[in-house]
Amino acid sequence: MQWEIVIGLEVHAQLSTQSKIFSGASTAYGAPPNSQACVIDLALPGVLPVLNKGAVERAIKFGLSVGAKINSPSIFARKNYFYPDLPKGYQISQFELPVVQGGNIQIQADGEEKNIRLTRAHLEEDAGKSLHEDFHGMSGIDLNRAGTPLLEIVSEPDMRSSAEAVVYAKTLHALVRWIGICDGNMQEGSFRCDANVSVRPCGTEKLGTRCEIKNLNSFRFLEKAIDYEARRQIEILQDGGTIRQETRLYDANKDETRTMRTKEDANDYRYFPDPDLLPLEISANWIDQVQLALPELPQVRRDRYMSEFALSAYDASVLTSSRETADYFESTIKQLPGQAKLCANWIMGEISGQLNKEGLEITACPITPSQLATLLKRISDGTISGKAAKTVFESMWNGELERNVDAIIAAKGLKQISDDSTIEKLVEQVLTANAQQVADYRNGKEKAFNSLVGQIMKATQGKANPAQVNTILKKKLGG
């Protein structure tokens, strides 16, 4: 039997606020243990939560960027369970009436556009961390992370392969960074995925029993965990077994998922509206302000690059993979109108390759867009060849001659020979010196032409403009 995999994702994005969602403690990562846990985060008796405006604003931003409905009012609820990293014995979250309802994310899967529907996105607080180093058989609790604002983004079960799930997660990851609501640092846990996975016979409608895989903190683990889990479920079903609804944990070392808790011992969370917090109302005016301040979204920019610059869907997608890359591209193209493809090639090729090699973000790129534009201008106006440009690029990357393109060209003697009469003279010399090859060409040996071009380039140390050499050589030979 053929099986279809059905996947929905729950993503926890830490919001990039200065202070926590319900207290004035800092959210900075990596501080000494418990130095950023104030009386509210510690749940001392008598303390109360007050909601951070910055967290709400980021949620609105997200909602608007996925075309969702912003609920007003929305309600905060308590999710009750005991865990040492959860100081109050409940997590303040949203249950009924989340701040963001619905919405859509477009992804590029297998060269096709696909729509993934969002169910909701709600605000909640993060928990602290349990450190399992052995303290005489005990665990240590650090509550610095407790109370960090999270936006939990829940998708519909619209994905059909681990690859699609990864594309969706990457698209979402790019979006939250693009609109500046989350730093997206997966190592630090700023962007964490849970996957709901089920399988069903191809062609059937009814969803299979799903398992939730927790805490997938890299795209690679997300892909591997889904693949493993789907295989596991298919094997069970093929052997005539049934899937038990449960929460599973992915073990990256063993590349497998294992049971964390079954539905039977799942907690009864006893959600109820938090009486310490009032209904959150978001005015139309506030939504309008956020809308006005929202940057052009990646999807919109991608479409614009295709129509305005005639770039391919692939190029446009790569250039809009992050807002910084897209901005870099736009600053470059602004100084080099009509050369979009050239700009795109260099940014996706040389620049991106060099950045990857050195592990740099584009914001740390040593070559500015205007320096790059100057370099590309010298290619398009024939001053240097594409090959020479790579040499100039290397010098610029290394910071030579203050990254002055013309100075580097001059210093390295990379200027192309583009003067017709000079080239004509050169061509004539080479033709005279290679009478045999001229004869071969005239006898129909096309290959001889390339050899003659090679001779000319060699004679000029590669500096002759190849297009001009071609034209003039053809003219002379054809004559």
Partner: protein, 95 residues
Amino acid sequence: MTLSANDVKRIADLAYIEINDVEAKETLDQLSGIFDLIETMQAVDTSTVEPMSHAQSVVQRLREDEVTEADQHELYQSIAPQVEADLYLVPQVIE
């Protein structure tokens, strides 16, 4: 509705309160009486009434996103049952 000894055990588990069988029986009797009192609510038809969560119909006030709290972990941990290396210690957490 009638409460069973199992219900009492289940809610005690959820609340992390220990109840032995003798206490469960006693608690069951008391809670049953209280729930008889609570059941009198069911006599009123409330199908068209909106639930009331708060005494005042006011909306949530928002804080500016500013760090206002300084590090006081020494003071706060001076009242903790067990601390080491600035961490609160608990019996091993097993995931």
